[in-house]
């Protein structure tokens, strides 16, 4: 799993039957300083995220376990919102997610 920031939404109509109703979001992977690292990816959403949220993303086949339908070709799912995190590395050792935006 890794940290990421939700930056956008993806809309599809022609997709597999098991994926109808699953939300797809663009996620920018972040390092422990919340700096971008790696390439923006598309992830399914299991926890009602929206643009701006700091989240953690599960990769691989395991990511389908968080979805309604497990037999779907999904390799990344947002499984949690990050409120705060700490680490031992250089730089600020404490980070917080942005407050959730009002609906």
């Amino acid at each position: 799993m890794h940290l990421g920031r939700v930056i956008g939404r993806v809309v599809t109509t022609r997709s597999l039957p098991g994926l109808q109703g699953e939300k797809l979001l663009l996620v920018r992977p972040l390092d422990e300083q919340r700096e971008p690292c790696g390439e923006v990816l598309v992830a399914c959403d299991a926890v009602s995220s929206g643009p701006g949220d700091l989240v953690h993303v599960c990769d691989g086949r395991e990511s389908t376990l968080a979805l309604h339908e497990r037999f779907v070709p999904i390799d990344a799912t947002i499984v949690g919102h990050v409120e705060e995190f700490t680490h031992d590395g250089p730089g600020p050792q404490h980070g917080v997610g942005l407050p959730r935006s009002a609906p």
Binding site: S15, V42, R61
Partner: protein, 108 residues
């Protein structure tokens, strides 16, 4: 998963019987602003995507989790055709023919 553009098809006459009935396409990855990345993937098409379509594809063992690819030696599968996406609330891409469905909130 990544967004990609279908840029070609693959034809092979000698192949494993398990992949004999599948349609393979060449997908070029795109970044979040629809700029092509210099990376190409051969993926099985499970939704009937056409040349030039922007699609989503999954990699690794997840690609086997469709009725078409289950139990077959496949590690990349196209599973959706992209209609539109936005980044930071700005529309980046919308498929041709869908303009009437995508009015911005300010206009309505």
């Amino acid at each position: 998963m990544f967004i990609g553009k279908v840029v070609g098809t693959v034809v092979s006459s000698v192949k494993d019987p398990k992949v004999a009935a599948l349609k393979f396409q060449i997908v070029q990855e795109l970044d979040e602003y629809a700029k092509p990345r210099n990376r190409y993937v051969v993926a099985v098409d499970t939704v009937g995507a056409g040349q030039g379509d922007l699609v989503l594809f999954a990699s690794g063992s997840s690609a086997r989790q469709t009725t078409l690819t289950d139990g077959r030696p496949i590690d990349a599968a196209i599973f959706a055709v992209v209609d539109s996406w936005d980044v930071d609330d700005k529309l980046v891409y919308r498929k041709e023919g869908l303009e009437a469905f995508g009015r911005q909130p300010a206009e309505s």
